[in-house]
Structure formats: structure tokens, C-alpha cells
Symmetry: C2
Subunit: 411 residues, 2 copies
């Protein structure tokens, strides 16, 4: 069936979700604030908050400074002890584990450097299981209290079945996280990293009333990621992370890490730029990892006018610009946000990008898209990670918890 039937119970669930997500967005709200944000009547908010409070999903905050005349407002927030989130960010050199309580505050975090055993999946898997146990051990939390384990990585992700299909780190070695974490009752979520960045950027712009119809977020670095935000027909934001880095740039182009030829990444990823700058043949096996210092040196010589270095960045920009033009053709003209370590070379990439964009039909018609840079990719990923995980977890909780307590209320 296309669309679910609706019932009065669904209405309550939907509106509870509205209240909870308002709480997530704005931290702590009073009755009246919630009514304003959700456009629900005060009476309804009252009913919902008492229900959620009784179920232990939200809690009244302790007193706070008087705000003026009148009855003091009581603020609600998601109940800290309701459950916990574990966020795992897998990046090329390090795996970061974060523990977050239900109110969204970071409780604990540590990094696990991936040493020489970097690329072995079984070693990584064992390390991950240990790290997870250590994380909850340090805060004396039981496994059952962990509502979700949300994992992010660059690469190709099977969101439906929580399988990492291809990643820069592990290549073609699949990881089935659903299976790996089968001893955990928590919901397992797997995300493409740039998807999370896009989500965070979108919410951020939404708050500033600055979100257009849609939005593209590009992460530039050793690999190239794209996240796309669109408003669905019902008005919700849908975020996707297409496999942009490995979209065909040009037939018979440079050899890519993925084994194909002519991917965008093979021109625009750090290893691609390096290869061009040093005039290494384009079918050379890509470097596993290019230190940022190395890239900085190439950029330096490009800024000093060295020909091949300049050319390398220009070609990278060209591939990026043409790739973006294709994205615009297949969606619509939308603002582009660049992030990731590669943004520091934007001055060198720009000319090629503009050239690559200019000749295409969508740009000829609608003009250049807005292109802006955004720093702190790590922070954005973390924010997006939380948002994404809570979206799911809150939904889970609302479908299970309050009805159970409704039975208690009756008994």
C-alpha cells in the first residue's frame, strides 16, 4: 500500500514526535513554548507532556532563575537517564567513540588510533567490540541502556541492512554491523559521513531561515563525498548521500581507488591531485594516504606559480565543477556548501570549478550556484550524527514506551 492509514492513536504518536523533536531542537522548553513551536493547543501539549513524563521520556528540569512576573515556567527536556547513544566515527586514521545521553550531552569520548593493522577487518571488529565495552564500562552503563549505536564512515553504505559495502579504509572488505553487534539490543545505524554533514548543515540553515528548496554539501579530502538535502512533497527534509566521488567524470580517465577509471575522485581526491602534480601516469595505483602536509607543499608551489601543481588543482576543480553541474542537472539548481580539509585549497580549485560549471546547461540557464565554505567538518559530523540517531531512536521509543505506560496508568 502506498500510504499508511491514519488513526487517532497515530495522531497522538505524530504529535508526541513533534513535541519531542521541538525539545531536541531547542534544548528545553516550557509548555507554552512547545505549544507555539508545534502549533498544538496548550491542552494537547499538557496531555502529551504528562504522558511522556510518566513514561520517563522527558523530565522536568530543576528550578531556574525567575523570568519575571507570573507563574514560573517549568521547563522540560529529554530525560537524561532514558537511554544512551553511542556514536562511532570511522575516519582514515582514527576511530572515535562518543557516548551521549538522551538529552544530547556528550558524556565520554575517546579516540582509537588505527595502527599498522589498519586495514584488517577482523582486527578492527575485535577492537570495536572492546572499545564499545570500555565506553559503557567507564560510565557504568548497561548494554540494555544503549538505545542506538550509530556508525559513520566515508564510502558506500547499505543503509537498509547496516553493511559497509566499500570504504576507503577497508576497500572491498564488507562489514556487517548488524551481525557484528548482534549481542547488543541497541538499534544499529550506519551512515555515510557526508550524509551527516549535510543533515547538520541543513538544520543549521533551517534555523537561520536560510534553507532554500534544496542543498548540496561536498566534502573535499582524500575522497570526495556528497550529501543532498531535499524537501519531500510532505515538507520533511530528506537527506541522501549519493556515490558522487565515484560518478564517472570522463571515460578512460585516471585509475581510481575503487578500481574503476575516470571517477571524479581520481581527479579531485588528494591522491588524484598528487598524481597529476607529480606527472605520475594516471593509471598508477593510487596512494593509500596523502598527509595534509604533502598537499600543503603542492598547494604552496602552485601558489608560487609552478605549472604542474597549478594544473593539478585546476584539473581537480574542473572535474568537481563538471560533476556538480551534473548534479544540478539531475536535481535542480541549489546552493553548494564545501567542507572538509580540501577547502583550504579553494583558491586553487576555484578557476577550474567555475570553468567546469560554466559550460553546462543548468548554469548557463540559471547562473552560477551559490558556493560557500564551511569549516569544522568534525563538529558538523557529530551534530548530524546525533540528529540522525535521535530521529530514529525517538521514533522507536514513541512507538513502544508510552503505550506500555498507558497500561500502567490504567492498572
Amino acid at each position: 500500500m502506498r500510504v499508511m492509514k491514519s488513526s487517532t492513536e497515530m495522531v497522538r504518536q505524530q504529535n508526541s514526535g513533534l513535541v519531542l523533536s521541538a525539545l531536541r531542537r531547542f534544548g528545553a522548553l516550557s509548555h507554552t513554548d512547545m505549544a507555539d513551536h508545534t502549533h498544538l493547543s496548550s491542552a494537547t501539549v499538557s496531555a502529551i507532556t504528562t504522558e511522556l513524563d510518566r513514561a520517563g521520556i522527558i523530565e522536568r528540569m530543576e528550578q531556574q532563575a525567575a523570568t519575571g512576573r507570573g507563574r514560573p515556567r517549568v521547563l522540560f527536556r529529554p530525560s537524561r537517564g532514558c537511554g544512551y547513544l553511542i556514536l562511532v566515527r570511522i575516519s582514515s586514521d582514527v576511530v572515535q567513540y562518543s557516548l551521549v545521553d538522551y538529552a544530547g550531552t556528550l558524556m565520554d569520548r575517546f579516540d582509537e588510533a588505527r595502527g599498522a593493522s589498519a586495514t584488517d577487518v577482523t582486527v578492527f571488529s575485535r577492537g570495536m567490540l572492546e572499545a564499545l565495552d570500555r565506553l559503557i564500562g567507564r560510565s557504568s552503563i548497561s548494554r540494555d541502556a544503549v538505545l542506538a549505536i550509530s556508525i559513520s564512515s566515508k564510502g558506500l553504505v547499505d543503509t537498509a541492512y547496516q553493511r559497509l559495502v566499500w570504504s576507503p579504509v577497508f576497500g572491498d572488505q564488507e562489514i556487517d554491523f548488524q551481525w557484528l553487534l548482534r549481542d547488543w539490543s541497541a538499534r544499529i545505524i550506519l551512515n555515510n559521513e557526508t550524509r551527516l554533514t549535510a543533515q547538520a548543515v541543513a538544520r543549521c540553515l533551517e534555523k537561520k531561515q536560510d534553507l532554500k528548496q534544496s542543498l548540496a554539501v561536498l566534502s573535499l579530502g582524500h575522497s570526495i563525498g556528497l550529501g543532498i538535502v531535499q524537501r519531500s512533497s510532505v515538507g520533511a527534509l530528506e537527506v541522501t548521500a549519493p556515490n558522487f566521488g565515484h560518478m564517472l567524470h570522463v571515460a578512460n580517465g585516471g585509475l581510481c581507488r575503487c578500481g574503476a577509471r575516470g571517477c571524479i575522485e581520481a581527479s579531485t581526491g588528494f591522491y588524484g591531485i598528487l598524481r597529476t602534480a607529480f606527472e605520475v601516469p594516471a593509471d598508477t595505483i593510487p596512494a593509500k594516504f596523502v598527509p595534509l602536509a604533502e598537499m600543503d607543499r603542492i598547494a604552496m608551489s602552485a601558489r608560487q606559480g609552478k605549472r604542474m601543481a597549478t594544473y593539478a588543482f585546476r584539473q581537480a576543480g574542473l572535474a568537481l565543477g563538471q560533476g556538480i553541474s551534473r548534479v544540478l542537472s539531475l536535481h535542480e539548481t541549489m546552493p553548494v556548501v564545501l567542507t572538509g580539509p580540501g577547502t583550504r585549497y579553494y583558491d586553487l580549485l576555484q578557476a577550474g570549478m567555475v570553468e567546469g560549471l560554466a559550460q553546462s546547461q543548468p548554469v548557463r540557464r540559471e547562473g552560477m550556484p551559490d558556493i560557500s565554505l564551511m569549516d569544522d567538518e568534525a563538529g558538523l559530523v557529530f551534530e548530524g550524527h546525533k540528529q540522525r540517531a535521535f530521529d530514529d531512536v525517538d521514533q522507536d521509543i514513541l512507538t513502544l514506551r508510552p503505550s506500555a505506560s498507558a497500561a500502567m496508568k490504567a492498572g
Copy 2:
């Protein structure tokens, strides 16, 4: 706000929509059928049907052959007289006007050949207004009874504001249908033609339980159209028609009708194939129109082994294959349905297509997508046209009509 709040009235509206759309899909249903299809209880269906019946939106069908024992079922269908739809299909040589009643049956249709004045917008506009009046005149229908005028054309369409932005027929001359038809109370809908085809194909496959997660429909002809069907996170089908024909195929490629260079259409559209086959320089102004007979001749000589003709089709297939590979990269691997007059040359296009697809990353990983052909593009466009228009019109009616009659019921 992200998502609308829910209320009991919205529940009724939603479920009424479910009932009505079941009626649209299956023609005429009894109480019990509707309950089965919508998963609503018999009591609810009863309430809804009496309400819709009273409001004149659906009607009981006259008697029908006894189906066996038991109380005879009463069948409902959308009420013929509830309103009318006008569907206008603008194609390169002809404009087709169709009048459809609220039950979806075709009442009247005529074609208006666009003569020498073909490309002049004011002439076309005047002609269209006249044709619309003639259409309703012939069936003695008043303007107010026309619920929607749904227009389709190839080209670039601004769905939000009903403006035809660029079309093969009128080029850069915009047509603002909202303005042109300002004397009509009907809702104005403007669609890209391939969007409609995709919609029809999707519903067709859905009925056969054969619809995968998503689907791409390509229309091959003088121009190239793409429609993409995706399931949104809430499970509804979202159909979009990206500007595929004018996506960048290759930098500095052949001159396209749109004025840009290297668009897919410039290689794969009929005029592109013609240009290559006859070794005309790729920056030659494209032919306005290529008769099918002309294409058939080129195909004939290609099948007889003539080199340039074969090459032309191969290049066209290559551009198509590479373009599709990019679509798969930016969405996911999905089945591809080919339609339109160009499918008769599929034997000649196939080799290039496969080559263009094979080298790309998504195909290397997931294998070749399912590619199938479908005839009767005109029929599909008509079906999709109806579906699309009724989706909108039914929604409009449900938000307005039944509540008004609820007041009557009280009085």
C-alpha cells in the same frame, strides 16, 4: 515547521483520500473491497462513503449482475458529474486536447496540428484558449465544472509556478500557463512529459508487484527525457523529471539545441545521430525536426553495415550509457525502462550503451541494470496524466467539499 501537526479532522481527510485513491486504482469497489484495500474497518468505510456520497464526490453504481449468494454488493465509483479534467499534451507536431470526466473516462478528444505558426507563443496561446473553449463547448460543460487543466510538454518545466521555461517547440520563449489561463477557476498543472510516463510505468509495475525500490524511465526521440521514481521515507512514490537530456555528456561536445555544448541530447537525440551519421560538423546548428522516416533510413544503412551510420548510433548509445551510469551513481542501481520512438533503434544503440555503462563504478559493483523496452508512449503519457491530475484534484476536493456538506448535514 518540518512536518504538519495532526488532528482528528486530518485523519478523516487522509482516510477519505485512501478510499478515493483505491477507487481510482480499481475502478469501482464495494464497501468490503474498500475496507480490504485501505485496511480500514467496515464501519469507517461506511462513514466515509456516506459522507463522500452526500457531497457528490462518489456515487453508487446502478445495479450489476448478481455475484452469487448473499446481499448484493453496491459498487461505488467517483461521481461522473463531480467535475471534469482537461489534459493538454504539447508535442512537437501536434497539440492534443482531451476531456475526461471525474470517473476517468475519456469524453472527447481532438488534435490541433501546429502549422507554420508553430513556434510563435502568442499564436499558440490564442489557439490554446480557443481550443479549450471548443472542448468544453462540444460537451456543454461550463468552465467552473473543469477542476483542472493539466498540460504536458517535453522540456524544462517550473512545476511550482506552472511556467514552461524551455521547450523543444518554443525554445526560450517562456509560457506562463497560470497567467494564460487566469480566467479559468480550474487548477493548472504543468508536467514534464516523461514524468508522466514514469508515473504510469511505476503504477503499472506496482500493480504487478514488480516495482523495485526505484525506477528510471527514459524517453528516446528527437529529445531525451528521464523520469525517476523513488519511494520516499514515508513510503509514497515520488516522481521527478530531471533535466537529463541536457546533462553534460562530455566537455566541448556537439552543439545542442539549448545552446550549450556537450549535452547528452546533442549526441543521443535524433538530430545528434543524424549529424554524426552524415559527418556534419558537431557545432552545426541542430535540425529543427527529423522525420522518423529519415531516422529509419539511417538505421537501415547502419544495419547494412554502413560505417558512419553504425558509428552514430554507437556514439548515441555511449552517451546514453554514460549518462545512465551517472544517474545510477547519484541515486542507486535501479531498473531502466526505455520508451519513445527511439526504442526501435535499440539494436543499434545497445552496444554503445553497454560499453558506456560497463566502465563505470556502479555497474562494475552492482552489475548491469535491468533494461527493458516499453511501447505505446502516448498511452502511458495519457495514463500518467490522468493519475497525476487526479492526485491533485482529489486532494483539493477533499480539503474543501466534504466539510461544506458537513455543515449542510447539521442544518
